[in-house]
Each structure stands twice: as C-alpha cells, then as structure tokens.
C-alpha cells in the first residue's frame, strides 16, 4: 500500500505562512470554529495535518476522533506565540491510556 498524500498545515496566518515556502499545503484559520470544517475536509486526503496549538486547544474532541485511525496523523505544533505545552500533554495522555498511570516526569 503506497499512495501519494498531501501534508497540510492548519493555523493562523502569521504562523503558517512560512510553511508554504517548503512546499506544504497551508490553510488559514484564526479561530477553532473556523478551523473545524477545514480540518474535516483535510482529514479526507491528507496523511499528516500539522495544527497550531491555539487551534488544537479548541478542537480537542474533533482531533480525538482521529486518534485511533491510521490516517490522518494530526500533530500539534507550537504557533508563533510560542509553545503552550499541548503536544507534551497529548503524549502524556497517551501514556496514561497505555500504562494506566503517568510515568513521564513532569
């Protein structure tokens, strides 16, 4: 199984614009509500969706729906205002799910 997929980046204009230069498929949304339909559309034909943390924070339930599917991989990245630590907390919740306790040092 080997197909060609798009790599998408979803975020506010200021954070995401630079990703266009390295050839990624960029989409702008300033608020989570704006981003929701875009995310749904992107999930159909992207293998990886990078999403900025400030959007991801408001779209938690939408993102969780894709957690157990092979595509797309939705990866949170920090936005231009810096890291909120959301990516790490997602990793922690995966660990809690698997191990039953948080074994990562905080």
């Amino acid at each position: 199984m080997s197909e060609s997929f798009a790599i998408s980046v979803l975020g506010d204009r200021g954070s995401v614009l630079g990703f266009r230069a390295i050839g990624l498929d960029t989409h702008f949304a300033e608020t989570p509500d704006e981003a929701r339909p875009i995310l749904k559309k992107l999930a159909r034909d992207s293998a990886i969706i990078y999403i900025t943390e400030n959007l991801a924070a408001g779209l938690k339930s939408d993102i969780d729906a894709y957690t157990d599917r092979v595509t797309p991989a939705i990866i949170t990245i920090p936005g231009k205002s810096g890291s909120l630590g959301l990516g790490m907390s997602q990793l922690k919740s995966a660990v809690e799910r698997a191990v039953g306790a948080n074994i990562l040092e905080t």
Binding site: M1, A21, V70, I75, P78, L91, A94
Partner: protein, 217 residues
Amino acid sequence: MARLNVNPTRMELTRLKNRVRTARRGHKLLKDKRDELMKQFLDFMRRDRDLRRKTEEALGRFYGSFNVASALMSPEMLEQALLYPKQSAALTMKTRNIMSVNVPVYTFKTRNSDPADIAPYGYAATSGELDDALDALAEIFGDLLELAQIEKAVHLLAGEIEKTRRRVNALEYVMIPQLEETIRYISMKLDENERGNLTRLMKVKDMMLKQAGYGAE
C-alpha cells in the same frame, strides 16, 4: 462469583474443561502480547518525547526570525513573496506492522532537491531574516515528519495496549473464575448423584436380602 447457568451433566463438564483450557492459553498469549506492546510503546514514547522537545525548540527559533521578517516587511510584500512556492512536497505512506498494529511509515519527496534553492522570491524586495527563517524551517522539516510518524505510532499503540489490557483482565478476573466455579459446581453435583445412587443400591440390596430370609442372622 456467579456460575454459568448450565445443566450439571458429564458432557457439559467436558465442554467447560475444554473452554477453560482455551481461555488459559488465550490469557497467556494476550499477556505476552501486552508485555511486548508495552516494551515497544515505551521505546516510541521516549523517542517522541525527545523529538518533540527538539522540534518545538527549533520551531521557536524559526518563528523568531519569521516574526522579525514580517515586522520588517509589509504584509502584502510577505504574502506576495510566498504566494507561489517553488518547492512542493509529496508524501507516500506505507504501513509497518508492530505486533499487529499497523503503523504508518512516511517517505517524502520534494520536487526540488537542492535545499538551498527553495526561496520562491527574488532577494531584492525581501529581508534577510526571511531567508534565515525559511532555511531553518527546511532544516527541521525532516524532524517534523519523523515526529508525525512516531507520534501517530504512539497513539495507535496506546489504543491497542488499552484494548489488550482489557481483554487480559476480562479473562483473568471474569471468564476463568466463572468457568472454574461452574466446573466445581458440576463435579460436586455429579459426585452427589453418585453417592445418592450408591446408598440407594445398598438399601435395595438390604431389602432384597431381608426378603429372601437372610436378614436376621
């Protein structure tokens, strides 16, 4: 522990004994699967954690220079400079099987292979910080891709481990005790019937002896 609602017959007993044997073997296999999955998971988790730290830091640096660039240039200029990307990326995906969990493996092709030649603009109207920012981003892109791959694997493995753990627990604490309880019940019932039968036979024998006149000696 509740026992199953079955008839206490010898056939049922054999059937249950077979079932408990199968359940024990399944339990052992699932437990082994869970342990191996956990080992793999911890490995992936550590890699994910380190990679995430690294890329978040690198992205921070990229945003730093990109912000300076966007402050130095007008928004229209910036937009225009990046409007038509020279570079384009295509991704192909395969899956790898880790303990029956399908994990994606990405391979990535860029149309333009020279990493120094990605700027889609002339250098006259743009600031130097923009070049720096894009260089930095192109550099960390490989890491970003690997991060996506590993993080997806972590989440998929976590889901599978949770499922397997539930199965192991269901077998260990529900299925097997229930079957054992039922087996004990049936064998006790059968033994009881056996004893009842024996006393009855002895009684009948006594009665027959008495009738034949041998009774009072």
